[in-house]
Each structure stands twice: as structure tokens, then as C-alpha cells.
Symmetry: C2
Subunit: 335 residues, 2 copies
Amino acid sequence: MTTKKHTATIHDVARQAGVSVSTVSRVLNARVDVAEETQERIESAIESLGYTSSLAARSMRSRKNFLIGLIMPDIEYPFAVEIMKGVNQAIAQSEFDLLVYTTGNVQKSVTASHEQHFIALLNNSITDGVIIVAPAAASFESNSPIVSIDPHQIHPNFPSIHANNYQGALDAMTYLIRLGHRRIGFIAGRPELESAKRRLSGYHDALAKAGIAVDETLIAPGDFTEKTGVEATTKLLNLPDPPTAIFACNDQTAMGVYTAAENLGLKIPEDLSVIGFDNIPEAKFRKLTTVDQFLVKMGYLATEMCIKLINKETLESDILKIPTELVVRESCRAI
Amino acid sequence: MTTKKHTATIHDVARQAGVSVSTVSRVLNARVDVAEETQERIESAIESLGYTSSLAARSMRSRKNFLIGLIMPDIEYPFAVEIMKGVNQAIAQSEFDLLVYTTGNVQKSVTASHEQHFIALLNNSITDGVIIVAPAAASFESNSPIVSIDPHQIHPNFPSIHANNYQGALDAMTYLIRLGHRRIGFIAGRPELESAKRRLSGYHDALAKAGIAVDETLIAPGDFTEKTGVEATTKLLNLPDPPTAIFACNDQTAMGVYTAAENLGLKIPEDLSVIGFDNIPEAKFRKLTTVDQFLVKMGYLATEMCIKLINKETLESDILKIPTELVVRESCRAI
DNA sequence: TTGAAAGCGCTAACAG
DNA sequence: CTGTTAGCGCTTTCAA
């Protein structure tokens, strides 16, 4: 007699053990009121059948699945990878497993209605709670907890983790100004993101505080990619009166600054000082001075927060702000 | 009247649109055989309710979910990250979304029965196919396709992607030997992995072919981590007759070689030549000579393979071997 | 201590 | 073109 293609269900286990499905369900859920002997019989049936209960079916009866979801538009960015590392660390220490959901592509999933869709997809069925990265929407409906990392909106209706982007930018600029720089270029990030706006404010305010007039030609648009970092830098360095330093909105962009400078035969930091924002591993190898945004830590804390919420513990605060720190490496020099 | 905590179901949509649930189901799926006017009414009901169909419930009726699973013991390793990038790229171009499953920790999930469990968890419910990385088991039961990347076993009962580890190791060694090296250290990988065994064979055979006797003291155990790379290198370099070059079983380990050499006040490549295996981004920044294992490509091809299987297309072969290539950077020199 | 039965939200015949 | 009906595999009362 050959086994059917069909994988084992709770019924198969019940039949093999000579009990009813409800009894099997009981031992599956670690209920106490099952006779020792029955329990053993069922367990060995489970073993011999290689039975694993269906996630889908279990989810439908709304039990806890010990599963946390992480919604990421695109898994490839260093930014995303760092956050995932943090989440992974927290997961490793917990009783939860992790389900990362991605469409593989920002384009596919950038609207608020898509976000709501993904949340519903996970949280209304298989997942006990969800972490969403850089959501555009200001509110979500969900019957399980949601935690967001770096949301577009400042005051969403769900708990969120933010880095102190403003203070970080201020620190970076103050450092450059102390070094004697007066003409400092800025390569912006995606303008719709709260984090990018804050970093720009820091740039502005640091200049103002130092009594340096803002030169709009020194502010280049960007989108957090290396490619626009290259383009923006090329433009800035070809200015009649080019900057002596560039503060890039994130590390990816700063990597582009390196590339562009090399293309133009310039050396960092001899000819140009550079600071990035984020502190991804690539930045470390480039010896790039960065504002540490604690990406890993954000992922870690978001996960902790989510687990607390799932366990119905109360949060000290709905908004967690992580302090930033300037990491000085070898990419800047005094003028 | 306040909305209930309960999120909208297909019943709510049906009621709101004044039709039966099966009609709603129809527009949700095939969308043939439904009057235009009815369709519109249902769609606007879906819109206004913010309805998303339950993944769990849908999965139970065994429909296609356009979801591929990727099972990863630990998401943090550069190795894992590179594979995920490749998978992500293939996913981005496909109509499938991706669900990465991880326990956050290799320990939690290293046994064959765990693997079977995860496969069953995903494939017997929500996922249309699964990619599993470095599985220990030789066979799995599942009613949806499985593709593996770098399985422990050479001939598993499921399709798999392998890099040509043997040829790669041969190339690396041949290169070092041509450079004049005679005493070449080897830092091994996890001995239970097929890939690690093959690389060691390549090391042995290249020496034999060059007529160089194998010195067992030059072969250090390792486990693919930077930490053991440091330890092994320290040991090797403190030998009475230390090696002039080290071939590390993977890039992480090779990074450890760098660290250890620096600790000992040695320079690479002036005092020591190093080659790693994998070609992760960190290696690039270290200017480390590597054997490109096409990690990204493995992820990409595995995903393609999985999609083909899901679509019931036939594979040319159950085993896909990816050629490797030596990427010469600045970490080796002639003797 | 166990079983029968109801139903979670959905899809898929089968009628009409 | 649309509604009725019967489950998918599981948990959970409620009885026995």
C-alpha cells in the first residue's frame, strides 16, 4: 500500500492512533487532560506520519502561531538588510519565528492601499504581529499589533521607531564646520520621507547657527541610491565654486560620492570630505565617516516592541526615538 | 454604529454588495461570468470595506497563492544575504511574492526533521513552492515543489543548485601555485557540508598535480565564520615554517585572515597572500581575491527553477551546476 | 478523559 | 449570470 500524494492531516493521525481528532488537537495544544497512554500513542503516530499541522487551518481558528511578520518592499538595499539583521537577532532570542514578506520591488508596493493589503494578508491570518518598514500610510486596520520603523508620517496611529535624524544631521554638520568647512554640499534623500526631511533641516539649521548663508546650488536632489550620489557629486564638483565637503543623506549616496570623486581624479579626504548617514558595513570598509542611525538596533527594538504588544504588555511610549551618534572615520579632514 | 474589531470578511462584502459570497469569490478570482454591473458593485464594496481576503482561508482550498517560500536558518550571514538578493531579483520580475521563513538561528533548525517541518508548514498551506538553503535531509515530503541551494547531500530527491566548488578550489590553488607559493594554508569549512568537502578536495588535488606534498599542519579546521578565521590564521602564522599564502574556505573566514594578519603586524599581500571563496561585498572592499561562487546567481536560478516547477514546466535537469570564476583582486602577490 | 458537532473564511461543484 | 451547498484542516464548546 503506497502512501497517497496527500500529506498527513490531523485525521490521519487520529485514525492511526485510534482516537478522535479533537483528542489529537488537545495534545497538539499541550492540553493537560489527556491520558498519558493516549498521549504517547498520538505522539508516536505524529512521529511516524511525519505530521505537521497546517498553518493555514490553524490560523483560521485564530490561535497564536508564534510568528511575526516583517513587511519589506525590497530586500536588497543595505538599509533593509541591516534592519533585518536586528529583527533576526531579536527573533533568535524569542519564541517567535519570522516571516519576511516582500514583493521584491518597491514599485510593486509603494501605495498606502498596498501596505494595508500586506498587513491584512499577514496579520489577519497567519501572523501574530507585524513590523512594517517606512510605511506611507498614516493608519492601518488590523486585529493584531503593528509596529513601524521610520514611517513617512510623524504621528501615525501605530507605534513606531524613529532615529533622531535631526540631531544626527546637526552633529555631522557641526563637525564639518568645526573642521573649517564653509562650503558644504548636501545630497538629499527621497523628499517624501520624514527621515530625509529631518536631515535636511539639520543641514539648514547647522549652517544658520554657524552664521553661514545657505547656498541653494549646494543642495542636490537625491533618492538614497548610489547612482544619484554619483550624479549629484559630479554636478556639485563641477560648480564654479565647488564644495570642500559633502554631507550625503545616506551611506549609499555617500558611496556614490566616492565613485564620482574617483572618476574626477579627486581623493577623499585630501580633496573632499564626506559624511554619510546610516552606518552600513560598506561604509565601514570605505572608512566613511557616518552618522550611525542604528539600523540594526531599530530592527531589534521594533521586534521587542511587537512581541510586547502581542503579549499584551503595555509600552512605555508609542514612539521610540533612538539617539544617533557621529562615527568619525577617515573620510574628513580639516581645511 | 462603530465598526467591529473584526476585520471584513467575504460575507461582509457580499452583504454590502447585496450578492452571495460565491459571486464575490468569483470576482475575486476568475472574474468571468459576472455581470459588469454586479462586478462594479462588489468592487466598490471591497474598496469601501478595505477588504483583503484571508490568506489562511484561501490557502485551505488549495488555490495558487502566488507566493514562494524561502527557508533560511539564519538571515544574518553575508552568505544568506547574497542568496536572498538573487531570490529577490527573480521575485521582482515575477508575478510571485516572497515569504522568507527563519527561526533567526541555525541552532533552532538544523535537524532534518526541523527542515521537514518548515517545508510542511509553508508548502502544505500558504506557499506554492519552496526554496531551501543548505538542507541536511536527503528527502522531503511535500505536495508543492521544492528546490534546494547547496544541499548537504549530493543526490537529494529534490532539484538542487550547486556551485562548482571543486573546480573553484582548483583554480584558486593553481593561481597561488603559479605565483610561486609552495606552502599554502587551508582553512576548512563546516565538514558536514558538501561544498566544504569539495573545496578541500580541490586544495588536495591542486597540490598533488603540482607535485607538492600535503602538509597536514597547514590545514586548519573552521566553520565558515570570521572568528575561526582569526584563530586558524593565528595558529598557522605561528608555525615554525608558516605558509606564504592562505586559501580560506569562504570569504567570512578570509576576513578573519585579514584581521589576524593585522594583529600580528603583517601586511596583505606583502607578507601573506589570501584567497577567499564566495565573493560577498565585504570581500570587494577588502580587495580580497575570491572564487566567485555566484551566490546571487544561485538564488536567482533557484527561484526561476521553482517557478518553472510551480507552472508544471519540465526542467532540463534536476541538478544545476554553476561554473565558478576566480576574481583576482589585490590580496595576492608573486613570491 | 474523550468524542460529536459546529464553524473559522474561503472556493468549487452543481443547480437554477 | 447567480445562489446553494459541501467541505478544506483545524479548534472549541458541549455532552457523554
